[in-house]
């Protein structure tokens, strides 16, 4: 079959086009539901825009909003940023290591392993709204945890009812959702070829050698993936905090994204709120960029 050059080019264009049609849904989706809102939010961040005054920006103010966040607004924004960054610094490594330790014994198949995994995963499945009610109830002075603490003689603990203890309580509460983390680790450990473990056994390797020479190096892609997504998510902590936030712990659980929402929703200050959200974006992008830059320790098989 001989096609001349023109026909061949026509065929090529048509082929490209029909192939592209398959990804049209996500291209449209990104334009409509990601790009458009992001562009308008970026534009609003350079304007004075109070939604309670009028439904369009009142004036273009350049970088004023950004400057204001670091000067007049800094007392509040800086505090929220400090809370968020400290929380992330503590919980990202903590949850990662503990999730890994949970996964290690449960990655191998043994009788009843499915039940154990389900039990540990169970708290992840508690709906967020219910989890707020539950933890409020659990940690009241009459609640179940304080009843246990009283019985064993430790005495009552304030948990979410005090500025001093709320953050620690929030971190502890997060421990119960480690099952989500565990599942990711199990997946990665199970994906390690069995031949490696067999070879190690034949060579008479100690468990510690297997752990540090096989399991952890083979898990580095998951560590990396987990690290980047944890940074992105952790710096945006909001929903899990509002369900346990009250006037008794408002300062301790004052997360940055909460500040952004209250700026926009409660005060109608869309300009300032947008600027604050873009500052967070830059922080996340810089940290993620640094993580990508130093990923030499990640072991990659040949890309499939």
């Amino acid at each position: 079959m001989a096609l001349n050059a023109k026909e061949r080019r026509k065929f090529k264009v048509a082929d490209n086009l029909t192939s592209f049609l398959f990804v049209v849904p996500c291209v449209l989706g990104i334009i409509l539901f990601t790009l458009m809102p992001m562009v308008s939010s970026l534009y609003y961040s350079f304007t004075e825009y109070n939604t309670m005054v009028s439904s369009s920006p009142q004036a273009f103010v350049g970088l004023d909003n950004y400057v204001a966040v670091f000067t007049t607004e800094w007392a509040k924004a800086g505090h929220a940023l400090k809370v968020t960054v400290l929380y992330s610094l503590v919980t990202i490594p903590l949850y990662m290591v503990l999730g890994f330790m949970l996964a290690l014994p449960l990655a191998r198949e043994f009788k009843g392993v499915r039940v154990f995994r389900t039990l540990i995963y169970l708290p992840v499945l508690i709906p967020m709204i219910i989890s707020g009610y539950l933890w409020n109830d659990l940690t009241q002075s009459y609640g179940h945890i304080n009843q246990i603490l009283e019985t064993i003689g430790v005495g009552k603990y304030a948990f979410f009812n005090s500025e001093d203890t709320a953050m620690l309580s929030f971190v502890l509460m997060g421990l119960f959702t480690l099952g989500g983390n565990m599942v990711l680790w199990i997946a990665q450990i199970k994906a390690i070829p069995n031949a490696m473990f067999e070879a190690a056994e034949i060579e008479g390797a100690k468990y510690r050698t297997v752990l540090f020479r096989i399991i952890i190096p083979m898990c580095t892609p998951m560590i990396f993936y987990n690290l980047v997504l944890s940074v992105v998510n952790s710096l945006q902590t909001y929903a899990s905090a509002i369900v346990v936030r009250t006037h008794l712990n408002a300062d301790a659980l004052d997360f940055y994204v909460g500040q952004v929402y209250s700026k926009i929703v409660e005060m109608g200050n869309l300009g300032m709120g947008s600027a604050m959200s873009w500052i967070l974006f830059v922080i996340i992008a810089v940290i993620a960029g640094i993580t990508f830059k130093f990923n030499k320790w990640v072991y990659y098989e040949e890309d499939v």
Binding site: T18, F22, I30, I129, Y133, S277
Partner: protein, 283 residues
């Protein structure tokens, strides 16, 4: 000690340690059960175990209209699952089994959207939906699923599809099948494990979603459209449904909501756990 005896001791130790850890994680759910089965009169003066057991929590939940909320949530979840399954597999096919100019750039952009903080667009998205007249309807919850179904899902399905041998597609092509037929008849049926994973994950996300309905449904006050999480939240604030402030009703609702999720996790555990690495195992 003989080798087998030593092995048995290690195994027993493993079971004991794992059981203790599992019990620890079970604690919040255990308390949920205790609270849910407490009789009305004793919910605000709790002992560790209920003074009087009762099922009034469940009765009040059903009387308070939880059935309507379940139906609504199932409709939203069903449509979202359908949209996600169809559009994420279509896009994944477009990124793995066919070629077009600029493919890797477009794919890079899709993956990059994973890193964008939601807060930068959430409120603008709200005003966009507001202008389109979508607020107070299910459209903001459902329609985006039909446009790609989320970057993570596209990525996972694409990884899996790459494991489908190209020779199978080539053979079909020679037999005269077009790209869509190859997708629908050959590639998609071979990808059912990862599609199952995507569907189950989507269900769990929809079933428990609070932020979406809170943003897009709450303001309109159209109660007949409320989903589970939002309905529970609004009822607990509504004096007419004063029982919904009772911990026994709240925890009964919680247990009812968890039931399908726990079943799904137990049954689909293999695909839920291996879903994230399915592609790399096959590859």
């Amino acid at each position: 000690m003989t080798a087998s005896a030593k092995k048995r001791v290690t195994l027993t130790a493993k079971y004991i340690v794992t059981s203790v850890v599992a019990a620890l994680f079970l604690f919040p759910v255990f308390v949920m059960v205790l609270r849910a089965f407490t009789a009305d009169d004793f919910v605000f003066a709790p002992r560790f175990f209920p003074v009087e057991w009762g099922v009034s929590g469940f009765v009040n939940a059903v009387d308070g209209g939880i059935v309507q909320l379940v139906i609504n949530t199932l409709i939203v979840a069903g449509l979202t699952i359908a949209g996600t399954a169809v559009s994420s597999t279509l896009c994944a096919y477009g990124f793995s089994k066919v070629k077009f100019k600029g493919q890797s750039v477009v794919f890079g952009i899709v993956i990059a959207t994973l890193m964008l903080p939601a807060v930068c667009m959430q409120l603008q998205l709200f005003s966009q939906y507001y202008n389109w007249g979508w607020i107070g309807s299910w459209l903001p919850l459902i329609v985006p699923a039909f446009f790609g179904g989320g970057a993570t899902n596209i990525f996972l399905v694409r990884q899996y599809m790459k494991g489908v041998p190209n020779s199978v597609c080539e053979a079909a092509k020679i037999d005269g099948a077009n790209k869509f037929t190859i997708y629908w008849r050959i590639v998609l049926p071979m990808c059912m494990p990862i599609v199952t994973y995507v569907m189950v994950i989507t269900f769990l996300g929809c079933w428990n979603d609070l932020m979406g309905p809170l943003m897009y449904l709450q303001m309109s006050g159209r109660e007949s459209y409320y989903t589970l999480s939002l309905g529970i939240y609004m009822k607990s604030l509504d004096p007419e449904f004063w029982q919904w402030q009772f911990p026994n009703v709240q925890m009964a609702v919680g247990l009812l909501m968890m039931l399908p999720c726990v079943l799904l996790f137990f049954l689909f555990q293999k695909s839920l756990i291996e879903g994230v690495t399915m592609g790399s195992v096959k590859g």
